[in-house]
Symmetry: C2
Subunit: 394 residues, 2 copies
C-alpha cells in the first residue's frame, strides 16, 4: 500500500469518538479542484439520510469533498437525520472553504440512532488537519464496520503516453448482495472525464463487479459508490481509445475490490465463484447462480468443507428456471461431481473435499440447455457470521 496516491486528491481518517471502541470512524476525501462525479446508490426503498442528500447533489456532476463516518448509519433518523447529514457536509465545506453543494456525505453503522453531532463537530478541525495525499488507507480504516482489514488499492496505467492513477477504497463485511453497489466505495482518479462519461463507465463496471457478489443476501440502506475524476493527469477519455483503456482498468480494479469485500465478509472462511454454463438465457443463468450463491444450506456445506452437491442441485431446482435435472453437470474446480443429474460416486468426493479445503474455489454448474453463462462470487456461512450478527450492537 506504500506510495498509494492520486494526484490532486488528499485523504484523512481519524478516531472522532463515534465508535465506542475508540477506533477510526471519521474520514475525508478532498479534490484540489472540482472533480466530475458519478454515483450508484442502494436500491433499498429505505434510504439513509446521506444517500438522499447525495442523490440530489451528484446531479450537478461536481464534487470537491466527501465526509464519511462509520459507527452510525444515520438511517431511519427522520428530519433530524437529514439536518445532521446536511450539517456534516456544511461543516466540512466550511472548514475546507469549498462549496457546500459540492460536498457529499456517507455514513455506515447502526441504523436508527441519532448522529452524535457534537462529537463530529469537534473532530472536524483535526480531520482537516490530517489530510494528506498518502492517507487513503487511513480513510479506508475510518469507514470500517465489521470489516477486519482496510480495503484500499491503487492502479497506475499509461494512457496516451501519460500515467493515469486510480485509488479505490471500499468497505463491505455484511448486507451485500447482487443488484447493488456495496456498502461504501470511493474511487478517485486523475483522468479527465465528464460526469455523464463517468456514470456510464461506473455503471458498466458495477454490473461486472459489485452486482456479482453476495455475502448474506441482505441489502443495505446506505450503499453508496462514488467515482470522482479531477483531470490532473491531463489525459482525457475523449481521445481515441482512452475511454476503453480507462474502463478496462476501472472494471478490473472494481472486480478486485468486490472480491476483497467477499473475502473479508462477516465470518467468511471461503470465497466461492459460482459459474452457471449452458443456460437457455443469461437471465436463467443468473437466477440459478444467485439461488445457489444465496442458499444457506449450500453455504453452510462450504463452511463444513462438505462436498454436498445434493444441496447445490436442490438450489438449482428451486431457482424458478425450467431446468432438466437429468442433464445437470456439476464441478468443484476441475473435479466432476455430478454427471447427467447423478452423483459421480464416493471416489470423486474425496477429490472434491480437497477442493473445498482451499480458501478459494469454483463451482461450475452446466445446465446443458443453451449457451448462456453467468457467475457470482459468494462466501460460506459460518458460525462466526452468526456470532458477529447476533452481537453486532452489543
Amino acid at each position: 500500500m506504500k506510495d498509494m496516491g492520486c494526484p490532486g486528491f488528499r485523504f484523512a481518517g481519524i478516531a472522532a469518538g463515534i465508535k465506542k471502541t475508540g477506533k477510526e470512524d471519521l474520514g475525508l476525501i478532498v479534490s484540489e479542484t472540482p472533480a466530475s462525479v458519478a454515483a450508484v446508490f442502494t436500491r433499498n426503498r429505505v434510504k439513509a439520510a446521506p444517500v438522499l442528500l447525495d442523490q440530489t447533489r451528484v446531479r450537478a456532476g461536481l464534487c470537491r469533498a466527501v465526509i464519511a463516518n462509520s459507527g452510525n448509519a444515520n438511517c431511519c433518523t427522520g428530519t433530524q437525520g437529514m439536518a445532521d447529514a446536511e450539517s456534516m457536509a456544511r461543516q466540512a465545506a466550511d472548514a475546507l472553504s469549498v462549496p457546500e453543494a459540492m460536498t457529499l456525505v456517507a455514513s455506515t453503522g447502526v441504523i436508527g440512532e441519532p448522529m452524535p453531532m457534537e462529537t463530529i463537530t469537534s473532530a472536524i478541525p483535526g480531520l482537516v488537519e490530517a489530510l494528506d495525499p498518502a492517507h487513503a488507507e487511513a480513510f479506508a480504516q475510518a469507514i470500517m464496520t465489521t470489516d477486519t482489514i482496510p480495503k484500499a488499492m491503487s492502479r497506475e496505467v499509461v494512457i496516451g503516453g501519460r500515467p493515469v492513477h486510480l485509488i479505490g477504497i471500499v468497505k463491505g463485511a455484511g448486507m451485500i448482495r447482487p443488484d447493488m453497489a456495496t456498502m461504501l466505495c470511493f474511487i478517485c482518479s486523475d483522468i479527465q472525464a465528464s460526469a455523464s462519461q463517468l456514470q456510464e463507465m461506473l455503471s458498466s463496471a458495477t454490473e461486472q463487479s459489485f452486482n456479482r457478489v453476495t455475502i448474506d443476501g441482505d441489502t443495505s440502506t446506505n450503499d453508496t459508490m462514488l467515482l470522482m475524476a479531477n483531470g490532473f493527469s491531463g489525459v482525457s477519455v475523449d481521445s481515441d481509445g482512452h475511454a476503453e483503456q480507462f474502463q478496462q482498468v476501472l472494471t478490473e480494479m472494481m472486480i478486485e475490490l468486490a472480491r476483497e469485500v467477499v473475502k473479508d465478509g462477516e465470518g467468511v472462511t471461503k470465497v466461492v465463484e459460482v459459474v452457471v454454463e449452458g443456460a437457455g438465457s443469461t437471465a436463467a443463468a443468473r437466477a440459478v447462480a444467485d439461488t445457489v450463491a444465496h442458499s444457506s444450506l449450500v453455504k453452510t456445506a462450504f463452511f463444513g468443507e462438505d462436498a454436498n452437491w445434493g444441496r447445490i442441485l436442490g438450489a438449482v431446482g428451486r431457482a424458478g428456471v425450467p431446468v432438466d435435472p437429468d442433464r445437470l453437470n456439476v464441478y468443484f474446480d476441475d473435479v466432476q461431481m455430478v454427471k447427467d443429474g447423478v452423483g459421480c460416486g464416493k471416489d470423486v468426493e474425496k477429490a472434491a473435499t480437497e477442493v473445498l479445503r482451499q480458501s478459494e474455489f469454483k463451482v461450475t454448474i452446466n445446465l446443458n440447455q443453451g449457451g448462456a453463462t453467468a457467475s457470482v462470487i459468494t462466501s460460506d456461512l459460518s458460525v462466526e457470521y452468526v456470532k458477529i450478527n447476533a452481537d453486532y450492537r452489543t
Copy 2:
C-alpha cells in the same frame, strides 16, 4: 400422545440400519381398506424418485400403504433410484398383500447416495410385524432427520353426532420455506371423502399452514404431504356442513404441525410470527413478510435477542414493494419500536429486549398503505443451525 389412534389405520417405525446411528429409520402406514388420498409435493424442479413415483400413483386417488424412510433421500440417484423406489413399494405391498399401485413411498435424508436396498429388504418383515394402531409416534420417529423430537398429534371432533379422528405426523428441521409442503407430512383420518374433496381441503389447509412457515429459505427435493381418509367413522363430508367442520379441524391441526416444525427447526431457539398489516395488496403484504422472515440479518438479531429494528426496516425496503419509509410502524409484541419510520428511542428498546427474550413472540409491521395483511412464522438463525448444516453428512 397416549391413545393416539385413528380407526382403520396401523403404524410402524423401526430401526432398519439405514442410519449409521442405529436410530429408527423405516416406517409404514397401512389403511385396512383403500383410503382416498390427496397430496401436495415439492415444487423443486429436482425431485426425488419417491416424489416422481407418488405423483403418478396418487392420481388414481386410492392408497393402502405408505413406506417411508429417513437417512437417505433417494434423490439424484438416476434410473437406479426410481427402480429402488418402485422396489420398496412392491416389497411392502407384497408383504401386506395390498395392490402395489396403492402403495406410496417417501424418503428423506442425504441426497445422491444409492438406497441401501438390501438393508431395507431384510427389514420389511419386521416392519410389518411392528404394525399397530397405537404406533403413530414410532412412525414419527422413523422419519426424523435432524428433528430433535418426533412430531405427531391427534384430534377427535364430533361431526354429525359421531366422532371423527385425525392423526398428523410430520418431520421438518431444515429446507423449509413458504410455497411448499414441508419435507414429509402424513395425515390420516377416518372421515369419508373422495380424493378430489380431500385435495381441495388439503390445498386450502396447506396454504394457511405449511406455506406460511420458513426456516432457512431452502426447498427440499423430497417434500411430500399426504392426506388419507378411509371412511371408518361413517361420517361423510357430503352431508351439510360436514366438510366445513372437517376443514376447520384439519387446518387448525396443520397450523399446529407447521408451528411444531419451526419450533423444532435446525438450531431454532425462537419462533417468531412476522405480521404485515396495512399493505396495499395481499401480494405486497406477503412479499414484505417473506423478505423479513428470510433475512439472515433479522434472524441473527433474533438469535442475539437484539431489538435491532433497523434490520427489519432494511428488509422491508428491499422487498420489491413500493413502501413509504416515513409511514412504517414496527411492534415487537405490543411494544412499538418504530413510529412513522423513526425509532421510538432507547427506553422502548429495553421493553423490546424483554419481548425478544421469550421463546415465541410476534413482530408486526404496519405499512399504513391499505388494508391487506399477511403473516409468516419464522425462526432465528443460530450458531447451532450453522454447525448442524456444516456437519450434516459427517
